[in-house]
């Protein structure tokens, strides 16, 4: 297969028009010493062979009847409307909407996405998306150093370890210092020399932070650093008070929970929102509403592009170009499909189911729940028999919770459990029975 429609006759005609003898003559600018005869890879495949081979390959990955694993990537129900609309090839085979008049579908959808995300978060502005939650956070951190002209960042413990690693990489290159603190230490540490305070909510261990209290601690000391909040499963916003209800300067999130399959961790969706006063310091694309130049119809267009790399080059606020537009569309359709009633129910069921299991496990001998604060859909359990418990889950074809020592070697015998609305009562009972076997 090569998806090239020309036959030999057509190629000959084209060569005649160009006025060259052969296709090879078109490559005369390339030094002969680097030309290759052929690629040393296999011959191509017919579609049916390709499909069958890929199908077999896919079966080498574990498929489970139910998942108790989250840690930054979540199983939530995806309404079938999402996949149906995403399969419209006018959407998925289009490029960045540079020619607005031929891209109104995409542009209006992104405008709707921006609107919906600002309503969900109650922040002033949402951009058209970033790559994922971790890079959205890293870019937010860099921008806080630009806005404040400071180069120290304070991070509250409980940030997703992979996000922290990404943040470290980005900040290393610009000599930005990262410091860490507990909630109690914020007031003592923070001062005018910091660019930002970063915290995750619910944190990596599933705990819901008291955002108002956190912010007061910082703001009682200084108004200079930005407050950056990050979230890995924003379905919780169906119930929890949104960042815009507090004095959050930049709110970022991983939007994978909104209608995007796990897909081994990507593509996801980087949600980036901020206050109006930071509009000109916002990375990524923005879609704006406008009118026809010679008429009165409303239309949508990429705007404020002078922030971006293709105009401002090295002075751009970020280098981002390609984003996750199709995933933003998926999240838009997910959110409008569920609506306020559905999203509330998702959040409610996550809280109820997960806290039900948490209470049950905490009562078992040899098991303890480590969280002190309220939790959303994840919580930490500890048991001397944790390995056996996780094995039993896998044997029952349940995707087992995360053994947290892969990120925190010092936290032995501890696992991060995730329960969502997708875990049925039968799955939950099986899970609890396995725990019961390990007391």
């Amino acid at each position: 297969m090569d998806f090239i429609p020309h036959d030999k006759k057509v190629i000959k005609e084209i060569l005649n028009t160009i006025g060259v003898e052969s296709i090879d003559a078109l490559f005369s600018d390339i030094p002969n010493e680097i030309k290759i005869d052929k690629l040393e890879i296999d011959d191509g495949l017919f579609e049916s062979d390709l499909y069958n081979e890929m199908h077999k390959l896919s079966l080498k990955n574990g498929l489970y009847s139910s998942s108790f694993l989250g840690a930054g990537c979540y199983y939530h129900y995806i309404p079938s409307s999402v996949e149906s609309i995403l399969s419209r090839s006018e959407f998925y085979t289009s490029y960045t909407p540079y020619q607005a008049e031929a891209s109104q579908g995409n542009l209006q959808a992104i405008y709707e996405y921006q609107t919906l995300i600002t309503r969900l978060t109650e922040m002033d502005i949402s951009n058209a998306s970033m790559y994922d939650g971790s890079t959205a956070l890293a870019e937010a951190a860099l921008i806080s150093t630009v806005i404040t002209r400071n180069n120290r960042i304070l991070i509250l413990e409980g940030l997703h370890p992979e996000y922290l690693e990404v943040l470290k990489t980005y900040c290393w290159a610009q000599d930005i210092e990262l410091e860490f603190c507990t909630e109690e230490e914020i007031a003592n540490k923070i001062n005018d020399d910091y660019a930002s305070l970063i915290f995750q909510n619910p944190n990596f261990f599933g705990e819901i932070e008291d955002t108002g209290k956190l912010i007061n601690q910082a703001r009682n000391k200084t108004s200079k650093p930005l407050i950056i909040e990050c979230m890995t499963d924003p379905t919780c916003l169906g119930i929890l008070k949104p960042p815009g209800a507090y004095d959050i300067d930049i709110f970022v999130a991983e939007g994978q929970s909104f209608g995007i399959p796990p897909s081994f961790g990507g593509p996801g969706l980087g949600i980036y929102t901020t206050k109006k006063k930071y509009l000109r310091k916002t990375p990524g694309r923005l879609v704006g509403k406008t009118k026809e130049l010679y008429g009165d119809k409303i239309g949508y267009i990429l705007t404020l592009q002078t922030r971006e790399q293709h105009i401002r080059r090295e002075k751009a606020i970020s280098n981002i170009c390609t984003n996750e537009a199709l995933m933003a569309l998926a999240s838009l359709i997910y959110l409008v499909s569920l609506g306020s009633k559905g999203l509330k129910k998702v959040a409610y069921n996550n809280i109820q189911k997960s806290n039900y299991v948490k209470r049950k496990i905490d009562k078992l001998n040899n098991f303890s729940v480590l969280n002190q604060k309220p939790t959303y859909n994840e919580f930490l359990i500890k048991s001397p028999n944790i390995d056996r418990f996780l094995d039993l889950c896998e044997q029952d074809n349940l995707l087992a919770p995360l053994k947290i020592s892969i990120y925190y070697p010092e936290m032995e015998n501890t696992a991060l459990v995730c329960i969502t609305e997708e875990n049925s009562i039968e799955d939950i009972q099986l899970f609890l029975e396995n725990a019961q076997k390990c007391v």
Binding site: R280, Q305, T306, I311, R312, K315
Partner: protein, 132 residues
């Protein structure tokens, strides 16, 4: 040439003008500069109180597809910026010498004015640019 280049102003080679009133100056961009930039959509201003030496970039003027730096024609301190521009950036296009002024400055060194161009000299400079 159709550009309005008032005789009472002094000009920098990078297309800024200055109007002197005692030791203060009002600064902006010329009719020629606004025409070259096209529709101006935003001006990023410096803070009042900031000090700059002559030729330094103090603001950025944005059109839809370009960003140009605005250089201060003489050394000085910003004492006022034209807030109207935030709401109505088109004033810089429509009225570059009056409603579209950009900043009021306190001059640090009056002798620097001697290095600026008269309207005649500035006109011949832009004629040359247009020929190229």
């Amino acid at each position: 040439m159709d550009y309005n280049i008032p005789k009472n102003l002094k000009y920098s080679p990078s297309h800024e003008w200055i109007l002197i009133e005692n030791e203060e100056g009002i600064i902006g961009i010329t009719d020629y500069a606004q025409d070259q930039l096209g529709d101006i959509v935003y001006v990023e201003f410096p803070e009042v109180g900031e000090e700059f030496s002559n030729g330094e970039s103090i603001a950025e003027i944005e059109s839809v597809k370009a960003v140009e730096e605005f250089n201060i024609p003489v050394s000085g301190k910003i004492i006022e910026i034209n807030d109207e521009i935030n709401e109505n950036p088109e004033l810089v296009n429509e009225s570059p010498y009056e409603k579209g002024w950009l900043a009021r400055i306190k001059l640090a060194n009056l002798s620097e004015l001697e290095n600026l161009l008269s309207s005649e000299n500035y006109i011949s400079q832009i004629n040359k640019e247009l020929e190229d």
